[in-house]
């Protein structure tokens, strides 16, 4: 059962940060889609709940050709999924959102809440890291901007400290000859991934690989970059054999944990396959991209 708590409802971001600074045993709630589960299980029992769902300043999607995409922390999954500009500029984000939980959960759950929760099985983390995103967070004393890649520290742990709120996600404008793909592996359509892989590929004018990112979901304590696999591909002319080899390296480099849904061995195996497939898909997109 959920414990009794005091409910704080700030009207503005400033007030939210002030309230958060003031109350020690305080948890932020936004859509509640992750928090309520752990509260029901009795794993989290804060004295105060700070509800930021209504802080409108943090709910926005902005795009600029130079600056790229900025998504406010309380923007819901559904808003991202339904955004025309995101569909046009970052279709991989829409595809990812369409397979994230059910519509009901996407209507409530927010991008800030998802990233703050830092579940290594979460979908946005790997995709956003593959897109080279940054995250802005801060408290009443100031803000920080870090690459999303560095934001996650451990299972359900980020760089944020007590009093910090996620404020914004920033995704740079897509480079030319860029492609990005994501797939999760799950038994049910609306389920968290057993494992997942995101890959992005940027090609040079001569067709060689300028940059590549491979980020695996639920393959370790955080959304996991597999840099050895990436290094194999950089600067090379990419082909199926290289993708397969990168997949094999990724499956060795990752560190998934077994549970009742799949063994470690099977997770490694599938991560290798997904890596290979997502690389190929991202590469093909990059080839045809302007």
């Amino acid at each position: 059962m959920i414990n009794d708590f005091h409910y704080l409802k700030p009207a503005s971001l400033k007030e939210a940060l002030a309230m958060y600074a003031e109350h020690d045993d305080c948890k932020v709630i936004c859509g509640g889609q992750s928090l309520l589960i752990v509260m029901r299980q009795g794993m989290v029992a804060p004295e105060y709940l700070l509800d930021i769902k209504h802080v409108k300043e943090l709910s926005y999607i902005k795009f600029d050709e130079k600056d790229g995409l900025r998504i406010g922390a309380t923007t819901t999954h559904r808003e991202i999924e339904k955004s025309d500009i995101i569909a046009k500029k970052y279709p991989v984000l829409v595809a990812m959102e369409e397979k994230l939980a059910s519509i009901q959960t996407r209507n409530w759950g927010t991008i800030g809440g998802n990233l703050a929760h830092a579940d290594p099985a979460g979908d946005p983390g790997p995709v956003l890291i593959a897109l080279n995103a940054e995250i802005k967070f801060g408290n009443s004393g100031g803000e920080k901007l870090v690459p999303l890649d560095e934001f996650f520290v451990d299972y359900f742990e980020t760089q944020m400290e007590q009093g910090d709120l996620v404020l914004e996600v920033h995704v740079p404008a897509p480079e030319p000859k860029f492609g990005c793909a994501y797939q999760k592996f799950n038994l049910l359509d609306s389920d968290m991934g057993i494992v997942a892989a995101a890959a992005s590929v940027t090609l040079n004018a001569d067709g060689t690989c300028k940059d590549v990112r491979i980020v695996l979901g639920n393959a370790g304590p955080i959304p996991l970059r597999v840099t050895k696999a990436e290094d194999l591909l950089k600067g090379k002319k990419l082909d199926d054999a290289l993708f397969a080899e990168a997949g094999t390296i990724a499956s060795e480099e990752c560190m998934p944990v077994a549970d009742i849904h799949a063994s470690e061995e099977h997770r490694r195996h599938v991560l290798g396959v997904l890596t290979k497939r997502m690389l190929k898909k991202a590469f093909e997109q990059a080839q045809t991209a302007a």
């Binding site: 059910s102 038994l187 049910l188 009742i260 799949a262 099977h266 195996h269 599938v270």
Partner: protein, 788 residues
């Protein structure tokens, strides 16, 4: 009368309860609130097998806000059981007496002013246990050195332990059949435990009122069985126990029998004289309620060179859990699902129901059929392949013909199975796709497609308590109609179907038919929503009741119009004399005339119906002798799948079902039933499994238990094979439609996987990892079967 002349029956009428449910107006048990109502909670055993040395409730009783605490000391210690016969007497107390035999068994109950207090009170009850060795695998439990959970059944002489029940039956000469066989196959199949997945958790409100009557609202599948079991265990006359209707959020077999919490809520209310509500958490449903039956099926089949089946020998082992539950019924039914659809001239069958320290089992949609058909249909395909036949021809060769007599004396009557098989094969282009898949197996592509078939025959109502249905149809002054039926709509739409039948007989529109249902005090007895007999048994009772009322109405009209009854025509609630249409009387006028002139007769019709009216008793659970049912439904289902050979993922692309349900009284409800079962079958074969470690469920939530949702719904298609008619003059025959299809999906997907990748599935569910492992074994020259 031709089916085309029907106005209500056979039409895709939307559900009567749909708007109320969709707008939140339907009152479920959890919504019931009574003055002074308390929250009840149940203390459950943490251990799978233990002696209870002492229960100390003194501290709990002292906690402010606690109004009652009960243990077995407060009970009459009367046992109950899903089966309670001389051979299989009841073996379970509704609240544990001295022993617990599974984790989650009820030990005590508390009633308090709120949930927090009730939970705290539970934590203040101190129980001293002496833990006993436990056993969880039925084949282990059968061994002589296994811990004893209950003594062996006295009539079972095998050198085994923990046998709760056994069935043995045979016909034909099995030895001769096997000696004469060109090919004999022996295989063993396993199934997991699957939960029912009802959306509404178990919930009960019990209120012992000032007139010393126990009023109970409980999420169930029929009120009369609940009344009988509660009255007996509480030592009350039936007249002192009233079960009232509530809306039910699904059951699928899991809410039939008496549950401990229903008894405990009643006992608590009787003790403190206040209403008590107990609602399970979802975790409690997973960890303590009854789930389905994990049957092991060993099957040996002999055939001639041309594919004709000569004989079949089957042995089933059912892990019945800590008490007998419906375990002995599952092994009986599994026999029926083996012998009914195909002509098998000789058969030897034995089934064991074995006690383990697992949760007790309930019936579950299909009650043995998905497991038995999975085994038989899989083996059919193995045999067909070895003979060089295709799966369709093999089945057409052996499927029963209309009029075939079964070894138990039943006739399959207008059995449409051959037509179902032929039609579904044609519509899905089965043979071409099947051959194409075989060629594709060796191509380079990593995604393989496959097609497979599964079939079933199913009973449509049988004899179990309360055995029959009576319905009352009553005209109101305004010529609207009230229908009194004991039937409980658990989501399958029976109130809609009953209304359609009554509307058809009376010529009164559906929205003027009001169903008053499922109240043991004010409605007549009903067979219940559990043996696939409601549309047949209750429906025919409703038909008779309506036609009885109509006859009275027409008699009055004849009197008033000075004509003969045969000349009368009823249309739009008006009765005309056929040859002179200006001579007419409205239903309302006729009712008024009946009251005025026929000694106040307000026109009430009564009808009753019992299936197999000449059979005295249900079939034997030990020999399978005796008739089972009057109408055998049957279907053939084809699944098309895609297997990703790199990841092991299986996707069902489409499920096409040709069904003979007699005739669809309501075609949309039939399609809804099929879809629901395809979804359940999908979960059974691909994702769902209750994971149990040392008798404790370790995935007790829908986050960890993978049940397909709306988004996972497979594309479905249907083919009607109509073998019966609805005739106004007589009772009608219609067949089951709510249970059998789970089997078709499980079997057809298993066969489709084989067609795609050459891996024979011998256990469910099939996880991606199993596929990869089996493919690897295959590559390394192993048999490649996917099994335990």
């Amino acid at each position: 009368m031709n089916n085309n002349d029907l106005k209500y029956v056979g039409k895709p009428v939307p559900r009567k309860d749909g708007p109320l449910k969709a707008t939140g107006g339907a009152q479920y048990t959890v919504d019931i609130s009574l003055p002074g109502m308390l929250v009840g909670k149940v203390l459950r055993s943490p251990y799978p097998h233990a002696r209870i040395l002492n229960i100390d409730t003194s501290q709990a009783k002292k906690l402010p806000g606690v109004k009652a605490v009960v243990t077995s000391a407060d009970s009459l210690k009367v046992k109950h059981g899903f089966i309670d016969t001389p051979r299989y007497p009841a073996d379970q107390y509704p609240i544990a007496v001295d022993m617990v035999r599974h984790a989650g068994e009820e030990i005590a109950g508390v009633a308090a002013i709120d949930e927090d207090t009730a939970n705290e009170a539970l934590s203040l009850i101190h129980v001293e246990y002496e833990r006993l060795p436990a056993v969880f695998d039925p084949e282990e439990a059968m061994k002589l050195d296994a811990p004893e959970i209950h003594p062996n059944h006295p009539k079972v002489s095998d050198p085994y332990k923990n046998i709760g029940g056994k069935i043995e039956t045979a016909f034909g000469d099995i030895e001769k059949a096997f000696t004469g066989s060109y090919l004999i196959r022996e295989d063993k199949f396993y199934c997991q435990i699957r939960t029912h997945g009802y959306m509404e958790p178990q919930a009960t409100v019990a209120s012992w009122d000032h007139s010393s009557k126990l009023n109970v609202w409980t999420s169930s599948m029929g009120v009369f069985l609940k009344r009988a079991r509660l009255a007996r265990t509480l030592g009350l006359p039936f007249g002192s126990v009233r079960i009232l209707k509530t809306y039910v959020g699904g059951a699928f077999g899991g809410k039939i029998d008496l549950y401990g919490h229903e008894y405990i809520a009643s006992l608590l209310s009787m003790k403190c004289r206040l209403p008590v509500k107990i609602v399970y958490t979802r975790e409690e449903v997973f960890k303590a309620a009854r789930h389905g039956q994990p049957l092991i099926v060993e099957i040996k089949t002999g055939v001639k060179r041309d594919g004709t089946i000569l004989g079949q020998q089957i042995r089933t082992i059912n892990d019945s859990g800590a008490y007998r539950g419906s375990g002995v019924v599952a092994i009986f039914l599994a026999w029926g699902f083996a012998m009914a659809p195909y002509r098998i001239p000789s058969m030897q069958y034995e089934g064991y129901s074995v006690y383990t320290n697992n949760l007790v089992r309930a019936p579950q949609r299909g009650h043995g059929a998905p497991k038995m058909r999975f085994a038989a249909e899989s083996q059919f395909d193995v045999i067909a392949e070895e003979l060089g036949m295709d799966p369709i021809d093999f089945r057409l060769k052996n499927a029963r013909n209309p009029g075939d007599m079964l070894p138990n004396g039943d006739s399959v009557k207008n059995f449409g199975l051959k037509e179902c098989i032929a039609k579904v094969a044609e519509k899905t282009d089965f043979k071409a796709k099947y051959e194409a898949a075989l060629k594709e197996r060796h191509s380079g592509s990593t995604i393989k497609r496959g097609i497979g078939i599964g079939t079933t025959a199913y009973f449509s109502g049988s004899l179990v308590y309360p055995n029959s249905s009576t319905v009352i149809v009553r005209f109101n002054d305004d010529a609207s109609v009230s229908v009194m039926t004991g039937a409980l709509d658990i989501g399958q739409g029976c109130e809609t179907v009953i209304s359609q039948i009554v509307a058809e007989e009376l010529g009164v529109p559906l929205n003027e038919i009001h169903v008053h249902a499922a109240d043991t005090e004010t409605t007549p007895v009903d067979i219940g929503s559990w043996i696939s007999g409601l549309t047949y048994v209750t429906g025919n009772a409703a038909k008779k009741a309506a036609s009885h009322a109509m006859k009275k109405l027409l008699n009055v009209a004849a009197q008033e119009l000075g004509s003969e009854v045969q000349e009368l025509i009823a249309l739009d609630k008006t009765i005309f004399v056929g040859h002179s249409p200006d001579r007419k009387i409205s239903y309302g006028q006729a009712i008024a005339a009946s009251i005025a002139k026929n000694k106040g007769d307000c026109i009430i019709g009564e009808g009753h119906f019992r299936t197999m009216k000449d059979e005295v008793s249900p079939p034997s659970l030990s020999t399978a002798k005796g008739r089972w049912t009057e109408n055998y439904s049957n279907y053939a289902q084809v699944a098309e799948v895609e297997v990703d050979t790199e990841t092991g993922m299986v996707r069902i692309l489409k499920a096409t079902t040709a069904h003979d349900c007699g005739f669809p009284v309501n075609p949309v409800l039939v399609e809804g039933q099929i879809d629901g079962q395809v979804s359940m079958g999908q979960g059974h074969i691909l994702s769902e499994e209750l994971r149990v470690e040392d008798g404790c469920v370790i995935n007790p939530s829908f986050l960890e238990y993978k049940m397909p949702c709306a988004l996972d719904m497979v594309e479905t298609d249907y083919i009607d094979v109509i073998t019966e008619t609805y005739d106004k003059e007589h009772h009608y025959n219609t067949k089951e439609v709510g249970e059998g299809y789970v089997s078709g999906t499980v079997a057809s997907v298993a066969n489709a996987i084989y067609n795609a990748i050459g891996i024979r599935v011998k256990k469910t569910p099939v996880h991606p990892q199993d596929i990869i492992d089996a493919l690897e074994k295959h590559e390394h020259g192993g048999k490649g079967d996917l099994t335990r």
